[in-house]
């Protein structure tokens, strides 16, 4: 009786009764970090482009230029020190002695030359490769521990761009090893000079590392093993930290209250990004009649926003009062105190003044505008901020037609013709970088990608001034003069009210105090790729 | 004719109702009859008169939850089946009383072989340790004249003809050697030639096993051939019972009379078959008096007022009609 037996079999398939042992916390010697993304999870610095790669590539590869651990920005790395030549056309890097790759080969100037050229090679899709190609003329090995890079023209921030404080293009890769095993072999068994050795990578799930056994200049890891887990759902990451399955989990500001309710510690990384809103293509003829073309209206819109409420309620106090556009407390080439005062006064919440300005501009009973609300990868809280801003504008009588769009759909609109964006406002972001100038070039210079002041064919007065100010900064070798020129540029943008900072975002992490000891993050760097080697065990340094 | 044989099944004033959305359908409304060993009683009537429901009530297989037996007694060899619990009743079905259904196409389970379905019936029956179950199954098939039983055992229902399937159903029905077999229009779905073979088969089985048979049909040709006695049902009640010959020769109840008149005769010229005007009354609101009143040629006001009692006419021949009282022996 075949069919009868078949059905008995199907019914008999009882669920595998696994042992329902109590959830075992991860063992003491392994540091487990739960992340919302592992990027492309490709163990090769030239193959991943977006920020997340700093999570999983930093442990293995050192960067030519390192960090200033205390207050963010750049510091000594593989190169102990570096020097800009008198004529400003070349930089000389002096490497630290005694550095070794995980297979024992010494780190030499040849490796640095090879690494930089590999980043610039055609098959590299690393996002900074193009900038490097534009900047570097040629690279010369002076001796085993000295390398000189000749640049096309004077590039004051060139050294900084080889630091993870800015991008990943400074990773130092083993020349001999890669030339013997080839690119594929290198990606399967990656070798670097960092404090952690590669163990295994399970695609879409996790990456495992093992601490090096010798002391390391970045810091000798307290844990034997490091595991980075990919857990896309935030509430799941929270649950893992509460049950001890993970020591640290990346969370958004909205989950801080939930994390504290669960007895977890909160670590906030200051100055990781700046949430801004900006107006597009106001200089274009088709936007001529728009009320947004009146600077008083734009200033009113900024005064209408109660930034303190956004910090306290939308961000759950996990945010700070913003500095000017793309500027942070650790920014170089600008007089910080001056701009701190400016932002306190200019970005204040003053609805009365805002109403007055609107009336002066002839829009007492408000007007209609379009506002594109979106969130860049890694900062989903930009959408609630956008909604809050729209809410404040609505209270001011402005009719806001909000269009919430997924980043993949919004980003292309900002390139080329910008047809859909002309005459509208949108949320945007500036990443936590030590020098503001390159970010200003992107948005305000006529040749820049966003060119909000004007484009090469149609460049009104403001656009011309911005171009001149930018040229002054880039070509300036003298620090004092460059700072003055930078201040001039920041003032120009601030007074235009076309790109306005809302709040300075922080990277927030939930930590299980029983799994990892007290540690301090690097200001401006949301990723912990360069922090894991300094995280103590819970018994070594308890949480305050 | 087994006139003197013991009574196997006696039904007294059986009532079985259907509780539906349109009200209570009194499908079986006070039926009484007796069935003797080796005898075949025909239960005849138009469709919808409650004959199938009567059959189902005997084996207590009324459609749940609508159908319910509300009154009366069903005495099988003296035991009242209506008081039995479901497990006790299960023991009766197949072993002491069995039934053949109308449509062979749907009577057999399509996913099991014929052999499985017979073996299952045999396993329920009395343990006949002598030969193995399979051998007894093949004998059962042979007894219902199924050729090459060994192969047939492995066949599936859809591979057999209607007639063949009805034989298998027959084999299953008698596998437990029941004392009473209820055949609910077993041949209606078969074509004529197969019909005659099947009826002869039933007769043969009855002769061999002495089982009593209740034959439910609307076909008088079959009644004449198969039944020793006939009970005519109308609107939930039996209006006339008697020996087949007596009913065919001298029906006394106007409804039986009309039925007999509408059966085509071989002899004599046949111009236009008489038919009975009107419709049987709806079973969910039955009139008070005689239910055939509206269609009866001899109706008077007494018929409408009061339901006539069953009165004896001749030997084992009785009918429920006031006319009988008025002229005792019309013959």
């Amino acid at each position: 009786m075949r069919s009868r037996t078949l059905w008995a079999l199907a019914l008999g398939g009882v669920l595998a009764a696994g042992e329902l042992s109590a959830v075992h916390a991860a063992d003491k010697d392994t540091l487990v970090i739960a992340l919302d993304t592992l990027g492309a999870q490709v163990m090769d610095p030239i193959m991943d482009t977006r920020a997340p790669h700093a999570h999983y590539q930093a442990p293995i590869w050192d960067s030519l230029v390192g960090f200033d651990l205390e207050n963010g920005g750049i510091g000594p790395g593989v190169a102990e020190r570096w020097q800009l030549a008198a004529d400003g056309q070349s930089w000389t890097f002096y490497l630290r002695k005694g550095q070794r790759f995980h297979n024992g080969d010494p780190v030499t100037a040849q490796d640095v030359k090879f690494s930089l050229e590999r980043v610039m090679s055609p098959e590299s899709i690393s996002s900074g490769a193009a900038a490097l190609r534009r900047a570097v003329d040629r690279i010369e090995v002076v001796d085993d521990l000295t390398v000189r890079v000749y640049t096309k023209g004077v590039i004051p921030q060139f050294a900084a761009s080889l630091s993870r404080a800015v991008f990943m293009e400074g990773s130092v890769m083993p020349k001999k090893y890669i030339e013997t095993v080839g690119a594929k072999g290198f990606r399967d068994k990656p070798i670097g000079s960092g404090p952690w050795k590669f163990v295994r990578s399970v695609p879409g799930d996790r990456i495992e590392y093992e601490a090096v056994t010798y002391p390391h200049w970045r810091g000798t890891p307290q844990f034997k093993r490091l595991t980075l887990l990919l857990v896309p759902e935030q509430s799941t990451r929270l649950a893992m930290v509460r049950t001890g399955e993970a020591a640290i989990a990346s969370i958004g500001p909205e989950a801080v209250k939930e994390a504290r309710a669960g007895g977890m510690k909160i670590v906030s990384v200051p100055g990781t990004m700046q949430a801004v809103y900006q107006f597009w293509g106001l200089y274009r003829p088709e936007a001529k009649s728009s009320p947004l073309n009146d600077v008083r209206v734009r200033e009113a819109l900024s005064l209408a926003i109660d930034r303190q409420q956004i910090i306290d309620h939308v961000m759950g106090k996990e945010a700070r009062w913003p500095m000017p556009f793309a500027a942070f407390k650790y920014s170089s080439d600008m007089t910080i105190p001056r701009w701190e005062d400016w932002s306190r006064s200019a970005l204040r919440y003053d609805p009365a003044r805002a109403k007055q300005l609107l009336a002066e501009a002839g829009h007492a009973n408000g007007f209609t505008m379009t506002f594109w609300n979106t969130a860049l990868p890694g900062t989903p809280f930009m959408v609630p901020i956008g909604e809050a801003v729209a809410g404040f504008w609505e209270k001011m009588g402005v009719k806001v037609e909000m269009k919430t769009v997924e980043w993949g759909a919004f980003d292309p609109m900002g390139r080329g013709e910008q047809k859909g964006l002309v005459g509208t406002a949108s949320m945007y972001r500036t990443a936590g970088r030590p020098e503001p100038v390159p970010r200003y070039a992107t948005t305000f210079v006529s040749k820049g990608v966003q060119h909000v002041f004007g484009d090469p064919q149609n460049c009104p007065a403001l656009c011309v001034e911005a171009d001149k100010a930018y040229e002054a900064i880039v070509a300036e070798k003298d620090d004092a003069k460059r700072t003055a020129a930078t201040n001039r540029m920041i003032e120009l943008v601030a007074k235009s009210w076309i790109a306005v900072p809302i709040v300075e975002g922080m990277g927030t992490w939930a930590v299980n105090p029983r799994s990892v000891g007290y540690f301090k993050p690097i200001p401006g760097r949301h990723e912990f790729g360069d922090v894991t080697e300094r995280m103590p065990r819970p018994d070594q340094k308890p949480w305050p | 004719m087994a006139a003197g044989a013991p009574v196997v099944l006696e039904v007294r004033d059986l009532r079985a109702y259907l509780y539906t959305r349109w009200g209570v359908v009194r499908a079986v409304d006070g039926v009484s009859f007796a069935l003797r060993e080796g005898e075949t009683l025909g239960l005849v009537g138009e469709s919808g008169c409650g004959k199938t429901m009567t059959g189902l009530s005997l084996v207590r297989l009324l459609p749940e939850p609508a159908g319910r037996i509300v009154d009366g007694q069903v005495l099988l060899e003296g035991e009242d089946l209506l008081t039995k619990s479901e497990p006790e009743m299960r023991y009766v079905r197949g072993r002491r009383m069995s039934m053949i259904l109308q449509d062979p196409q749907t009577s057999l389970n399509p996913v099991f072989t014929i052999g499985d379905q017979i073996l299952e019936a045999l396993r329920q029956g009395r343990a006949d340790g002598g030969r193995s179950l399979v051998a007894r199954a093949e004998d059962a098939l042979r007894r219902v004249k199924v050729a090459a039983p060994e192969q047939r055992m492995r066949a599936y229902p859809h591979q057999m003809s209607g007639g063949m399937k009805q034989r298998v159903v027959g084999a299953i029905a008698v596998a437990g050697e029941p004392r009473v077999l209820i055949a609910d229009e077993p041949t209606t779905a078969l074509d004529v030639t197969i019909q005659l073979q099947y009826l002869a088969l039933l007769k043969e089985i009855q002769a061999r096993t002495r089982l009593a048979m209740l034959f439910i049909t609307h076909d008088f040709g079959i009644v004449a051939r198969m039944c020793d006695r006939v009970a005519v049902m109308y609107a939930g009640r039996i209006v006339e019972t008697g020996p087949t010959r007596a009913l065919f020769r001298a029906p006394r109840h106007p409804y039986t009379e009309a039925l007999m008149a509408s059966v085509p005769r071989m002899e004599g010229a046949v111009t236009r078959l008489p038919s009975i005007e009107g419709q049987p009354p709806p079973l969910h609101d039955l009139p008070t008096g005689c239910r055939f009143a509206d269609r009866c040629a001899y109706v008077d006001d007494r018929c409408r007022r009061e339901y006539p009692p069953t009165m004896a006419i001749g030997p084992a021949h009785e009918a429920a009609c006031w006319r009988i009282e008025r002229s005792p022996s019309s013959r």
């Binding site: 935030q234 509430s235 929270l238 958004g252 909205e254 989950a255 209250k257 939930e258 309710a261 669960g262 109660d306 409420q309 956004i310 306290d312 309620h313 939308v314 609300n373 959408v383 609630p384 909604e387 809050a388 729209a390 809410g391 609505e394 909000m402 269009k403 919430t404 769009v405 997924e406 993949g408 759909a409 | 259907l18 509780y19 539906t20 959305r21 459609p63 749940e64 939850p65 609508a66 159908g67």
Partner: protein, 303 residues
């Protein structure tokens, strides 16, 4: 001997029909009217229509200081916000009322469009049979294999999220399910005598389909409509979870459940309230569907 292919299709269609339109037999019991579901559906429609009048606050009005207030009956709750407030201080009750409107519109548009196409394809495919039938059925198979969420994501991403996109995405997926079931019913109805009779009288195929086939298939179709209301609302919720749902600030139940998910411990009402609303509505429509199926029961065909 019917070709195996048709046998299976008939069986599958009948089975699916059995799933959605099966009815217990015999029909003795009296099918109680599902008053419960009538009330809930009536309330839902009333709420959706009168939302602007009865909602205590505007669904998008923010008041950041009183964010994440618990419902009135909990400690710290205020009667101004009966069901508490969300992350931006918006009134949960008002968003629930307005959300009913959005969910109903999406469900109505998707079901009528999707159902309509499905009904047409099902009838044509079932009635004509042969090559058109197998072609249409293979298209149905293709649509069923295409992942639900993926189509919605691709559409949301290319056409831009919004009520219209969600409705289109769900329509593209719903029609296949309707087509398959309707086809099964048509196959069953097609073999009935009155269809042959109509053809004998010289009716055109179109007339037969419209006059004879449609009425008999309508009750299964109606039942399918009610049973799929739940399916549509859940799809909308899942899309919101994946970030391709109805964009803020328009309130929708699916978006509310999705947004509230990271506050399970500290602000349970954010996802529990809309979740309960969805469950109540789906329960109501399912009971209504069951009752409708019994009431429109083909039992009338059998008498």
């Amino acid at each position: 001997m019917a070709r195996v292919e048709d046998r299976i299709d008939v069986e599958l269609a009948a089975a699916t029909a059995a799933d959605d339109a099966a009815h217990p037999r015999p029909r003795g019991d009296f099918a109680r009217l599902p008053w419960g579901s009538f009330v809930i559906i009536a309330v839902l429609i009333l709420v959706a229509v009168l939302a602007p009048l009865i909602a205590p606050h505007s669904p998008t009005e923010q008041s950041l200081p009183d964010k994440l207030l618990p419902p009135a009956w909990e400690a710290g709750g205020s009667t101004r916000h009966l069901l508490g407030t969300d992350v931006l201080g918006r009134d949960v009750l008002s968003r629930l009322l307005y959300g009913a409107r959005v969910s109903l519109i999406v469900a109505a548009v998707a079901l009528l469009a999707g159902g309509g196409i499905g009904l047409a394809v099902g009838i044509v495919s079932g009635y004509l049979g042969g090559r058109t039938d197998s072609f249409l059925m293979r298209t149905v198979d293709a649509t069923l294999t295409f992942p639900t969420i993926l189509i919605a994501l691709l559409l949301a991403v290319s056409l831009g999220p919004g009520l219209k996109t969600i409705a289109i995405a769900i329509t593209v997926l719903i029609w296949a399910r309707f087509a398959r079931v309707v086809r099964g019913e048509v196959l069953a109805v097609k073999t009935r005598d009155f269809v042959a009779l109509a053809r004998v009288h010289g009716c055109s195929h179109l007339r037969i389909m419209a006059v004879h086939i449609v009425p008999n298939v309508l009750n299964t179709f109606m039942v399918l409509l009610t049973l799929h209301i739940g399916f549509v609302i859940i799809i909308e919720a899942s899309l919101s979870f994946l970030g391709a749902g109805i964009p803020p600030p328009t309130p929708s139940w699916g978006q509310m459940v999705s947004d509230g998910r990271s506050h399970i411990a500290s602000a349970w009402w954010l996802s529990v309230v809309p979740g309960a609303a969805i469950m109540l509505v789906v329960l109501a429509f399912n009971l209504f569907g069951d009752w409708l199926r019994d009431w429109l029961d083909p039992r009338l065909r059998q008498v």
